[in-house]
Amino acid sequence: MNWIRVISCILLYILSTQSYQIRAQSVLAEKWVPNQSDTSYQAIIDHLEKDYNLYFSYSPNILNEQSYFQTGDSKTIGRLFKEIFTKNNIDFEIVEERRILLYKSKLQKIEISGVIRDLDSKESIPAASILIKEAGKYATANDDGYFYCFIEGKDSVTIIFNSIAYSANSFVFNESQSKLIIELSSNHNSQIATITPLVDSLVNSVDPAKDEDFIKRSTSVGLSVFGLPDITQQIRNQAMVQNGNEGQSGFVVKGGSIDQNLILVDGMPVYDISHIGGLSSIFISPAIKELKLYSAGAPSEYGGKLSSVMDVKINEGNTEEFKGEATFGWTGAEGHLEGPLVRNRTAISLSGRYNDFNFLSDDYFSRLGGYNDSELNFYDFYSKLHHKFSPTNRISLTYYRGKDKLFLFSQKQINSGNEARILAEENRFQWGNELLSLQWNKLLTKKIFLASKIGFSNYNLNGDGFLSDQTSLDSSIVVGVNASSSIRNIVGSVKFDIYETSIGKLNFGANTIIHNFAPKLNESLWINEELVSSNTSNSEQSKALEFNAFVENSISFTDHLSLRVGLAMSSFSVIDTSYYLIEPRAKLIYRKNKHILDLNISINHQYVHLLSNPGPGLPSDIWIPSSKELEPSRAQDITLGYNYFLSDDLKFEIQGYFKYMQGLKENIAGPDVLQALIGNSLTVTNILTSETDWQKRIEQGRGYSTGLGGSLNYNSKKFQCILSYTFTRTKHLFPSIQQFLDVPTDTLFNGRHDRPVDLLAQVSYSITDDWTLFGKFVYGTGLSYTYPDSYFQGPPEKYFATGRNNTRLPDYHHLDINLSYTKELKNYNLYFNLGLYNVYNRNNIFYTYLNLNENNALQETGVGLLPRLPSATFKISF
């Protein structure tokens, strides 16, 4: 009996609830016919209560003052509720037959995504900043301007979009929106080169204390020797980047050598970014869309170098209208043109430059080495074709080619008794980069972004030198030297950005590079036009395959603390050996109020190395791959940085690091490989060696680098100032080349770029709105090099060094001033610049060589490259 009662009660309960559900469903299925007074959500509720016998319980503040626009059609109450409640993050529950409870959704989430682009050119703005005001959180657009962010538990969210050299724009969102296009207007002075941004995307130059303009305007100017904006000069203004040396190619970061910087142009590696003697970089300012420099804490997608990463993106072109500029100076001309091929879809960007210094070089090399004829010129050409299938589906094709050329010739007749001799010398240097890159970037879903690249890059360096001593038509001795270095790369890469996973933002991808190296050194001796002997080192090409796969995660623990941690696995296979290496990286950032503290830890490897001449003589650089005998270089790096925004205009930063390196390479070849090209001797020099394998000219060692650098940046509308100081100590240990008896094998020697003093003071002052005065002073300790400090009388007499890098070149310093005038006219802008490089004409030494003076005593002569140089530049842009 009792069982029956229990079962009956259960059945009754079920029936009652079911009937309730049936009745609840019937309420939602009822038809609702709007009337003219239903113009707001509140009015609708009043209507439902009055005419449909429904009773609502709710908190008044959940409805807002939202208007309702009638569609004119009747609809079910369920559909109406979905339209006005669910969409606005209001949940409803039918608690009794006709009693409805309204309440705010507990996990309301507003997701915002889209593309940020330039208002005028419609080009995407990479790494633009996104501030979610209510949460105090930051997000960053990716390289294609795509962003994704979200906030939970809020009715609405205010998002401020900004980027360096753009005006901020803010919007309020009440609901999720995707495929947005946010356009920012540029506000930078077009005459001043800007790089956006220079800091890692996780560490913005942000002043969180203010709502607007929270991205500092970084208008630091970097001008080349000839008064034009130059990227490498701007790079050298950054902390931990040295101010350079006379004739230096590239740049030096944290005491490493110039080959320890990974330089990518639209994803393709580039090996030399400087033109002759550091006169200019290969980059034409208007052709560059964005440049990112990571001196610490580079993301895991980058690998293969020890010190830094420079990622350059080429201008995609204006899809709205044609724009261009032309620059004329006394050494050459430069031009840029961009515009739409199909409006708002396809654009093209073309930039070119040619500079000829023949009128300078003839006089200079005549005084330097008695040359009768010389040529010195270079050119760069950029082109990019860009097509947008949609704002989040784009394809680009980039091509670059550049070349430097130096030619020197001299001929002298010497009468010696009855004999007349003709001594002739001819030297030819050429080098340059070429690349082609096809990129396809697409938003696969709201939260997954794909970036892919394929292409090739080539670098060639070729130097020929001939010395001939001819006594008659049939009698001659000729020594020839050819040094060449060629690297060809085929590159493919793919990268996925996944937003808002359960563990934060996730990036993963892979890239592969097929290298083809051809380093070659040939020394030959001809007697009476017959080849007598020839010594060639490793003229065979060697192929190598480099592969990298990475995964990286960005997590925000709190509003102040975020972490980016990544792991890369790389392999390098060459001839009969392979290396498999792991590279972990971590970047921890703490930011609060006006302070930002960041800690970077990483392990990096390098497979491609640059061999440089260690002693006196011309820099003669050859690129070589790792091999069975030459292991990859490795660096373990820890960097701690602190930024403090003292005010809106004033920022202080300090950074310290320690880097331990293994597998470093030193060139121990005897004579300067290009000694024959110096031309300071009238005698024919036979520099044949018995060592034909270039790998045997290299020794391996280890070392460390440590440093501390600080800078003060002041930026106001009229006045900008940078004051920075970097202290770097780099020490190397090569036991196999430290055999000297008074130098124990565990003694460290200075690295080439060991630099205790590296000082920069730069000021830019706007005298009026049109006139700007610019001044820059740099000071740096001279480069270390191996100097023959000891002498044995013999015979034979010998000059040799008792230690490696045992002395320094004289300190490097110069003062530059520029005066510029800018005029904005109706349809175009004008820019004039007058400049003076090296105001006090300091003879900064480029290289030294040894020779015998008139007393037959040895002397060391230093050769400078850039004397006091005036410049005048005119630019017109439209």
Binding site: G615, I654, S690, Q739, Q793, G794
Partner: protein
């Protein structure tokens, strides 16, 4: 507060600047000892000291050194007497092939210096030259070492000696084949007191150790315009230290002059102690080609 920050930053700059001062190391002089010993010549050693490259280069010969060479097997000592200008010679004594030797040099003001070497036996070395090559004017030769003695050697060096013929033309003279003149050849085996020792740093090393009975290509001369009887080759079996020394010399030297061509790699030395130089043994013979 702002002023304090500026002062603090400036102080940091000053501290860093002071910390960056770099002191240049002082020059330290070392001994330079050169001795090539072979069974055909009395012991001879030259002792000098190094000087700064741009300093005073006078008076570098050491005349008051105590130099002793010892036969490591028989423990026989050979006292070296100073002759002239830093050159020390024994009283007619000559080393023997197949034995190890040790040298000790003591000079006031310098650390004690010592080195060891051995005298390799040349063995039966054959130099091959084909008739076809002679006719065409393209010469190349190989040699096959055969180890016979109790101290074999597998390191060799050579020198092409080509004297000028009586022709008016001076073609075909190779810079590498100059006969060392008397000045650099130094003292004769009978102990003539000259101020130089025989210097063999111009020899060309045969690349790599040579196995017994192997044929090693040495050099190809593409042009030869002299008479065959003018061509000789000096074959030298060298100790391993001597071989490393020659590699180092060839890597760093220019033929014409080394004064403006400093060494970039370390100077080779087999001395322990505060000295540079070479104590090396060798055996040699000269083979003349007759047409």
């Amino acid at each position: 507060m702002k002023t304090y920050n500026y002062i603090l930053f400036s102080l940091c700059l000053v501290v860093l600047f002071l910390a960056s001062c770099n002191k240049q190391a002082e020059f330290k002089s070392h001994l330079h000892i050169l001795s090539f010993i072979n069974p055909d010549q009395t012991f001879e050693v030259r002792v000098q000291k190094s000087a700064p490259s741009f300093g005073d280069h006078s008076d570098l010969n050491i005349t008051n050194a105590c130099v002793v060479i010892t036969n490591s097997s028989t423990q026989e000592d050979f006292q070296m007497e100073h002759v002239v200008d830093g050159v020390y010679r024994s009283n007619g004594a000559k080393p023997l092939a197949g034995y190890d030797y040790e040298i000790q040099v003591k000079v006031d003001g310098f650390e004690h210096a010592a080195a060891t070497t051995y005298i390799p036996d040349l063995g039966n070395v054959v130099v091959n030259l084909s008739d076809d090559q002679i006719e065409s004017g393209e010469l190349s030769f190989t040699f096959s070492p055969t180890m016979l003695s109790n101290k074999p050697s597998n390191f060799f060096a050579y020198e092409l000696i080509q004297t000028k013929n009586n022709s008016d033309e001076e073609e075909g003279n190779l810079p590498s084949s100059e006969e060392p003149d008397e000045e650099s050849n130094g003292g004769n085996p009978n102990g003539v007191n000259t101020g130089n020792i025989r210097n063999l740093n111009y020899l060309k090393p045969v690349y790599g150790p040579v196995a017994d009975g192997s044929i090693v290509p040495v050099e190809t001369i593409n042009t030869f315009n002299g008479e065959l009887e003018d061509l000789s080759v000096r074959i030298v079996a060298v100790s391993s230290e001597f071989y490393d020394f020659l590699l180092n010399e060839n890597q760093n030297n220019s033929i014409i002059s080394s004064s403006v061509r400093p060494y970039n790699s370390p100077v080779y030395s087999n001395f322990v102690g505060d000295a540079y130089g070479l104590f090396g043994g060798f055996s040699e013979k000269t083979i003349k080609f007759v047409q």
